[in-house]
């Protein structure tokens, strides 16, 4: 079994002034793995995601990444150009609010095309077909390719955002509460979509959420965060079914039974 390690995080720490954002985070991410980061509001999970995706530079720590081409690199010391290039093609962020990840002034197809054009595909039919392919894949109606994001429902906008990110065949996808603002039935359908795509294309993902049902359905392993530190980590079903830390026990016992 030779699964490639594509991210190695060591002692990652970020302070906002004197306030702890996240502290002493360590983990490894292997190709094809789906990592969930859970914790209550203010636990530092979004700060951690921002550090990992290059949105903020952490106060201390190390992130080594291993790309398909080019061996192991120290992510934090990459020049801005390379970080931007990563985010535009080989990595991708799915934001909680699809409007943060979509360009509302351009059509659905244009949004997907933008991502592909970053990896310089200058062929119109290719952009068109790939756009339709990914819309179909995320269970959207490909005939709506020329409509603008604002004419879609919230759930559809989220699907569009996912299409856009996945169209460039990214190595790592970061998701920040991907089903956050959606009602339960739409949530379930989107989780379903993500799950089936993940199975198909073997993408590596980091998902931040406070929703334990989401992590149980989607993720392989978990980081449980509280007050900026990781209190427990392990296989997702192990952490949820046999939690060791008192906070994890509190979290798992707080789920309401329907």
């Amino acid at each position: 079994m030779n699964i490639k390690k594509i991210m190695h995080v060591e002692n990652l720490t970020h302070f906002y002034g004197n306030q702890i954002g996240c502290k002493g985070i360590n983990f490894d991410l292997y190709k094809g793995e789906i990592l969930g980061i859970v914790g209550e509001s203010g636990s530092g999970k979004s700060t951690l995601l921002k550090c990992l995706s290059g949105e903020i530079s952490p106060s201390a720590g190390k992130i080594n990444i291993s790309l398909d081409q080019g061996g192991v690199k120290d992510f934090l010391s990459l020049p801005e150009q390379e970080k931007r290039q990563l985010m535009r093609s080989m990595w991708g962020i799915v934001h909680q609010n699809p409007r943060d990840g979509l360009n509302l002034r351009i059509s659905a197809g244009g949004n997907i095309a933008e991502r592909l054009l970053n990896v310089s595909e200058k062929n119109y039919s290719f952009l068109r077909n790939t756009g339709k392919y990914w819309m179909k894949k995320t269970e959207m109606d490909p005939d709506r390719i020329d409509e603008f994001p604002l004419s879609f429902s919230g759930g559809m906008q989220q699907r569009l955002q996912i299409s856009k990110i996945l169209s460039s065949n990214p190595q790592i996808v970061f998701m920040d509460e991907p089903t956050g603002g959606l009602d339960v039935s739409v949530q379930a359908k989107i989780l379903d979509t993500i799950k089936s795509i993940v199975r198909d294309i073997n993408v590596t993902m980091i998902i931040v959420t406070h929703d334990l049902a989401v992590v149980r359905f989607l993720t392989d392993k978990l980081l449980v965060m509280k007050d900026g530190i990781v209190v427990e980590t392990g296989l997702t079903d192990r952490v949820l079914d046999d939690p060791q830390h008192s906070y994890t026990q509190l979290l798992t016992s707080s789920i309401l039974q329907v």
Binding site: R88, I106, S107, G110, A113, E114, N118, N123
Partner: protein, 278 residues
């Protein structure tokens, strides 16, 4: 020559500053160099950038031609020509082939320019990405990192909505395989003339205080898709004055019934073509 002014209106220190910027611009084809633009005796939008570039490089031996939308006899062209006559006492001409320096608004002459000529464009908006990305800080990064996806998205959107790219003027180009450049509001008909042009092309934006340049013999490519290649405008009609079928034509409504005529936009070309045909 009117007294009380330095030669070519601007003081020597200013001209030197602008020439330095021009040199920098020539060294980095298509890159927009900021410069310390001066107040000129005409309003922004009337060619203050072009005039400053012209004023900085004009010499006593130069013969100046100024065109506006291809015509030598329109207000803007005539005024700028008169301005330089008064402050430089230089010769002016309407004939493209005779001019050593051509200042233009919105056209490139039909007559092919040669290596002894310089063409100065008046630029309203030097930033081709401005309408796609409002933040200057971000557009500079987009240029620096060559992240030009947005520009192609714009073309994609036009093809998906209208079946083809409908942008007919200020059609963006890539200069020397590097910077995406705004060719100023010339019709896309003129874009191919910019490629490998023998003359030096200088661009001055007065309000935005930017200078950029395309050196002689530089590759200038109009953006397109492999399966939707760049095309220029064509007409079924010919010029109703000189009969040309090769020039850029203006559509003119000549009576209250809406009768239309097509005539050459380049007045010098039209005149000489007419004489040749006689």
């Amino acid at each position: 020559m009117k007294t009380g002014f330095n030669f070519a209106y601007l003081d020597e220190a200013t001209k030197r500053m602008i020439r330095r910027k021009i040199l920098k611009a020539v060294c980095i084809p298509g890159y927009q160099c900021p410069f310390g633009g001066r107040e000129m005796p005409l309003a922004y939008g009337w060619g203050t950038g072009g005039i400053q570039v012209t004023a900085s490089i004009i010499g006593k031996e130069d013969i100046l031609k100024v065109i506006d939308q291809g015509a030598d006899d329109t207000t803007n062209a005539v005024s700028i020509k008169n301005f330089f006559k008064r402050v430089c006492n230089i010769m002016t001409t309407d004939k493209t082939a005779e001019a050593s320096l051509i200042q233009t608004r919105h056209r490139i002459p039909e007559t092919t320019l040669n290596k002894d000529q310089i063409i100065v464009y008046q630029v309203p908006q030097p930033e081709p990405l401005r309408k796609l990305e409002p933040k200057e800080k971000e557009t500079r990064k987009l240029h620096a990192y060559k992240e030009y996806a947005l520009m192609h998205v714009k073309l994609y959107e036009e093809i998906s909505q209208f079946g083809s790219v409908i942008k007919t003027w200020a059609y963006p180009v890539e200069t020397n395989n590097r910077y995406i450049t705004d060719p100023t509001p010339i019709p896309k008909f003129d874009n191919p003339k910019m490629n490998n042009m023998e003359a030096l092309q200088l661009f001055g934006a007065g309000r935005e205080k930017r200078i950029y340049a395309i050196p002689p013999y530089t590759k200038v490519k109009s953006l397109d898709f492999e399966d939707h290649p760049f095309e220029i405008q064509t007409w079924d009609e010919c010029c109703s004055i000189c009969g040309s079928t090769k020039s850029y034509l203006d559509e003119i409504i000549i009576n209250n019934e809406g009768k239309k005529n097509f005539i050459c936009s380049d007045t010098d070309f039209c005149k000489s073509n007419l004489e040749k045909n006689k």
